[in-house]
């Protein structure tokens, strides 16, 4: 796992040609942000704590995890809403809460925040038909499925709740949000493991570009912190196991002592909008989605190929679609899970930016909030948008002893204040599925 990896030579990759020639693209901007994270309920509270270098990790509180190989995770701070804790009643009546798995609750909460933040709550039928939802999840209602399976075995089929299936289905975040707000446009859900959030934003942006919708509510939600979730990821040797005495030190991307990712949970949702539509209604514009690239590894169910050429192809496709030079990228929010794959991603990014590596800042916010799986790409895209807004790159915590030398500034243990106009956000998932998003500051 800690063997040195060499990426000095340029990898020989076969790149699909991505061209904008002949395509009349509608521009897509971000006009609303919403988030439930292990640091806080809410975008601004999470961002403030992220920049301050806080960690969301701790011993698992929700259930007794002492018998599991990993007894720590990054749980959403549940409370009465004070001190930025997550109070589910702010988003869903108690009698409705028990009908949905936590990932739906988090997704609905983040969607509510994003929609309110955007100010887009149309009453007009035509506006509603032009507004869609694409909120995905990596796994969906894992906990509900586990509990219901036990109930079925112990007490028989007549005890299975009528809300079990609609409370566990991945696309029911999108369904619930559309029902609540009357959004009758495309209703869709991405399921690409840890790339879900990024794919959802990218795919939703394309629906707007193609004219299927003018506004899309897009993102990801996940609630994998359960006995079966931890046991399952432990079994495939993905999780950190050796930091039970110091959970906040467990997620340490690019550090020599990293030993796996730390499970997180929550949701990230953005409101995407066609540029002229946003301008016409005077919406606040955070950033423009200018590039999106996708690829498959065709290599292994859980591991990336040694040079991560799939990731590189996704990034290069996004750069080509954006119509920029890779050297224009100021900040990369890495997939950076705190696993052996961190340095492989680093190599792919180095090949992408070439001689511009010295001017690039890259960090992994998973060092602070853990890995939110299907929500990760959406939450991290929001961090990138805020990095553009506030001209600051969030830190990579616990990067005390880098596993590789690089000219790229990895924002070790401290935020980096700098010019940030163009960002790249990477997400890679089990099955070998890769997504790269590029966003840019909108001026004038």
């Amino acid at each position: 796992m800690r063997a040195p990896f060499s990426w000095g030579a340029t990898a020989c990759i076969t790149q699909v040609e991505v061209t904008n020639e002949g395509i009349q693209m509608r521009r897509v901007v971000v006009t609303g942000l919403g988030m439930v994270s292990p640091l806080a309920d809410g975008v601004e509270a999470t961002w403030r704590r992220l920049l301050a270098g806080e960690s969301g990790a701790g011993t698992i509180q929700r259930f007794d995890a002492s018998h599991l190989a990993t007894g720590y995770a990054c749980e959403v701070p549940v409370g009465d809403g004070s001190n930025d804790t997550f109070d589910a009643a702010r988003y869903l009546e108690p009698k409705e809460q028990r009908k949905v798995d936590d990932f739906i609750l988090y997704g609905m909460a983040a969607a509510q925040q994003a929609i309110e933040n955007s100010g887009w709550m149309p009453e007009d039928e035509e506006d509603r038909v032009r507004t869609g939802v694409m909120i995905g999840s990596g796994i969906g209602g894992l906990q509900s499925i586990a509990e219901t399976a036990v109930l079925l075995k112990e007490r028989g089929p007549r005890r299975v709740s009528p809300f079990f299936i609609p409370g566990a289905l991945i696309n029911l975040v999108s369904g619930q949000v559309s029902i609540r707000y009357g959004f009758k446009g495309p209703n869709h859900a991405v399921v690409t493991a840890c790339s879900t959030g990024a794919h959802a934003i990218g795919d939703a942006a394309r629906l707007i570009q193609w004219g299927d919708a003018d506004v899309m509510v897009a993102g990801g939600a996940e609630s994998p912190i359960s006995e079966i979730g931890i046991a399952g990821f432990n079994a495939c040797k993905a999780l950190s196991t050796g930091r039970g005495d110091a959970p906040t030190k467990a997620s340490r991307p690019w550090d020599k002592d990293r030993d796996g990712f730390v499970m997180g949970e929550g949701a990230g949702v953005v409101v995407l909008e066609e540029y002229e539509h946003a301008v016409a209604r005077g919406a606040k514009i955070y950033a423009e989605v200018i590039g999106y690239g996708l690829s498959g590894d065709a290599h292994h169910i859980t591991a990336p190929p040694p040079n991560h050429e799939g990731a590189e192809r996704a990034m290069r496709a996004a750069v080509a679609r954006a119509g920029i030079d890779a050297s224009e990228i100021d900040y990369v929010n890495a997939h950076g899970t705190s696993t052996m794959a961190d340095t492989i991603e680093l190599g792919a990014v180095e090949r992408l930016v070439g001689a511009a590596a010295g001017g690039l800042t890259m960090s992994s916010t998973k060092s602070s909030i853990g890995h939110l799986l299907g929500a990760a790409g959406a939450v991290e895209a929001i961090f990138c948008i805020l990095a553009i807004r506030d001209q600051v790159a969030p830190p990579t915590l616990n990067l005390d002893d880098p596993a590789a030398e690089t000219e790229i500034d990895l924002a070790a243990n401290a935020k980096v204040e700098r010019d940030i106009d163009v960002i790249l956000s990477n997400s890679f998932g089990f099955g070998g599925t890769n997504a790269a998003l590029i966003m840019r500051r909108v001026t004038g």
């Binding site: 009698k95 409705e96 007549r158 005890r159 009528p162 809300f163 609609p166």
Partner: protein, 78 residues
């Protein structure tokens, strides 16, 4: 002890449908008056079965439309 059964049924209805107790009257229809949908009524019947240790067959469940229907059925079945 029939009022005890009625109280227990009322408590379940209030909890599951999130309605005010005074709305749960003899002739109150779960769907028309108390805001339940078809899935809610399935869950209500399951909750009655659980609370009273009885089995309510599907064809009987379909006849339980109001609070009064539920109390009557459960009183007879208990």
């Amino acid at each position: 002890m029939s009022d005890s059964i009625a109280d227990r049924v009322k408590k379940i209805v209030v909890e599951h449908l999130g309605v005010e107790e005074d709305k749960v009257t003899e002739n109150a229809s779960f769907i028309d008056d108390l805001g339940a949908d078809s899935l809610d009524t399935v869950e209500l019947v399951m909750a009655f079965e659980e609370e009273f240790g009885i089995e309510i067959p599907d064809d009987a469940a379909e006849t339980i439309q109001t609070f009064g229907d539920a109390v009557k059925f459960i009183t007879e079945a208990s």
